[in-house]
Symmetry: C2
């Protein structure tokens, strides 16, 4: 059975990517990185998801990006934006303060290291560009450039960087996951949780709520507001 490395944050998108990789029959090696995210409860979500979706193994790597990469997700002195409208969240050219510099480059580099060691050809990452926050490292050009890099960065090349959600809306992602039996109650999206409940006000919460509403699927999230 061919193997894949799947980057798993514990959020809705990476969980769906894992479900898609499993649906292809791939043996999935899930990789979660404790990179200094203040919303560390996503790490527990990642563990729940890896177990529930039948990852062959789940590794959690610790790497504190906070000293290098300034972001509201890693720096307590930067506030997570709240109550932004969907038009603001999706505004072209806007990169919000929750962007973590080069984070997805770092995560894919780690996934590549593991894939090369395992002899896995596929690397799954749950980035998407629609219904997202305008992060540069979620765009097709980024995935293409990393895929090109992976061929020359390694002994043999031959890697495929798979971003199956990249052109899907959040509603389409939720429907695809629901068809695969994903229990989104296991996942965590919120950037600024309150006692493990979602704040209901950050960009991640707004996009998640909108996705469930548009999909017509019951949102299992426990929101604080």
């Amino acid at each position: 059975m061919p193997s894949a490395v799947v980057l798993l944050s514990g959020g809705l998108d990476s969980t769906t990517a894992l479900a898609m990789a499993r649906a292809e029959g791939l043996t999935c090696h899930a990789l979660t990185v404790r990179y200094g995210q203040l919303h560390a409860c996503e790490l527990a979500a990642a563990a729940r998801v890896a177990a529930a979706l039948g990852a062959a193994e789940h590794r959690v790597l610790t790497l504190d990006l906070a000293p290098l990469a300034r972001s509201a997700l890693t720096s307590p002195d930067l506030a997570v934006p709240k109550d932004r409208s969907l038009a603001e969240i999706g505004a072209p050219g806007d990169v919000p303060v929750t962007y973590v510099p080069a984070r997805n480059t770092v995560l894919l580099a780690l996934a590549l290291a593991w894939a090369e060691t395992l002899g896995a050809q596929d690397i799954f990452v749950g980035v998407n560009v629609l219904d997202a926050s305008g992060y540069p490292d979620c765009r097709p050009a980024f995935i293409d450039a990393f895929q090109a890099l992976a061929q020359v960065a390694t002994r043999g090349g031959g890697f495929r960087v798979r971003a199956p959600l990249i052109a899907m809306t959040k509603a389409e992602i939720i429907l695809a996951g629901a068809r695969l039996g994903v229990d989104y109650g296991l996942t965590h999206s919120c950037y600024d949780p309150i006692d493990d409940r979602a704040c209901g006000r950050c960009d991640a919460c707004h996009l998640r709520r909108k996705g469930f509403a548009e999909a017509g699927v019951v949102d299992p999230t426990r929101y604080a507001t």
Copy 2:
């Protein structure tokens, strides 16, 4: 004064790259990664070098690659090859067991995160392809691919990945550093040190010895054999 991020292992090459960046008048932010290398005494060398060469700051990040990237540099059960001839070390297509999968991709990704946070345009890395061990992530094609990635992975792009040693022999590197006043006695190259002395038998020691001999510069290294 423009800033640069300089990847600094504590070895001869990255030390020379730092000296070159300083000679351009750049404010240098040196980054060392404790990635699980068994020859951890290079970390002390990096601290000595950063101080001696006037880095504006020196950060050491901890990230244990050993669970992901199998290599003789990170796995005690894999032996570091000894007493290979220079012809063997430089054989085309040979990637020795000391190659750490995707290590330089990970290191450059971390440097990119810091450069974006600092607003630094230049990232220096001391890779070289001549008088080296055939690692894929030391070749010009790798540097070019990472530079292309950096433009799309980040908010604004505009990064330059500088690999000034890439086409130099070890002797040329040593002569260039010596002209800049580098004290190579501060540096550490050996993959398998014995009580902080260089083993004198691994590929890194053989290449270092050959470099000093060809440069006609006294080798300050304390070799065990």
